[in-house]
Symmetry: C2
Subunit: 157 residues, 2 copies
């Protein structure tokens, strides 16, 4: 199931993207815009390839390379983020505001959770090691519903 971002937030994010392009001398190409739109339309923490699939449907002939490059660039300027995950495939996240994740250590799936208790943690001072904190996430790690079912079947088998 994919939930739409509310239209205002979506428009604001696209506007932010245009502004950042202007400020940094980047070009607001159709490809980049559609890649951003697609990420905003997915709440699944998609891989680059999953984004490519959807972008292809909306933009005939777009290349996989461009999607990879666009995602990297969009994350770099901060209109989307990379999600932290335990696996071997980069995943992107349309949410840039604070929120948290359920992380399955078996299938690497990521599910958003809201938990007010996690939203106002005091960030320690990391200037001593020269690290500049941009945001944070609490990640609850474990086994998701589907993988638990799987494990039960294997035990019986």
């Amino acid at each position: 199931m994919t939930y739409a971002l509310d239209e205002t937030t979506r428009q604001q994010r696209l506007e932010t993207f245009r502004r950042l392009c202007r400020e940094r001398g980047l070009r607001c190409t159709v490809q980049r815009r559609v890649v951003l739109e697609v990420v905003l339309d997915l709440d699944t923490h998609p891989t680059a390839d999953e984004v490519f699939e959807v972008v292809s449907r909306r933009l005939e002939g777009v290349s996989r390379t461009t999607v990879y490059r666009s995602l990297e660039g969009l994350a770099r300027v901060g209109v989307i983020t990379k999600a932290c995950h335990p696996g071997a495939t980069t995943r992107y996240d349309r949410r840039i505001e604070i929120h948290h994740h359920l992380i399955c250590l078996r299938c690497d799936s990521i599910t958003d959770i809201s938990e007010a208790g996690f939203d106002d943690l005091a960030i320690p001072d990391t200037s001593a090691v020269g690290f500049e904190v941009k945001d944070y996430r609490v990640q609850l790690r474990g086994i998701c519903h589907d993988c638990r079912d799987q494990e039960k079947k294997e035990e019986l088998g």
Copy 2:
């Protein structure tokens, strides 16, 4: 710099591994034991290939495949964990107790931090979605020292 795990902890972990093997009918092979020892000796959140390099030096002729399979298995039984990261390469972590990470969104580096304030968060009930929480991590995300230097140079260039 690599810091040694204190010897007692190291021995306990190896013993746990032997016990888990017995309990689950797995075999305690030299390869698996050395892979575990190597991860315990590294505090760098290594990739499978980094582990392979070190294992190779200690165990002539070991195959990359076996290292990959061993790491997966060790993580499955819980004597090591997978680290959550923003990149495209699985990383392993010798620490299984609660601790937290500085995550660089540019180079994917992971640095351990201890922060007492993060250690006793109240875990929300996720049984409604069938998710079984095993542990959690707070991840402070941003830009590490080296990458900030890099960015400064690029701006000047």
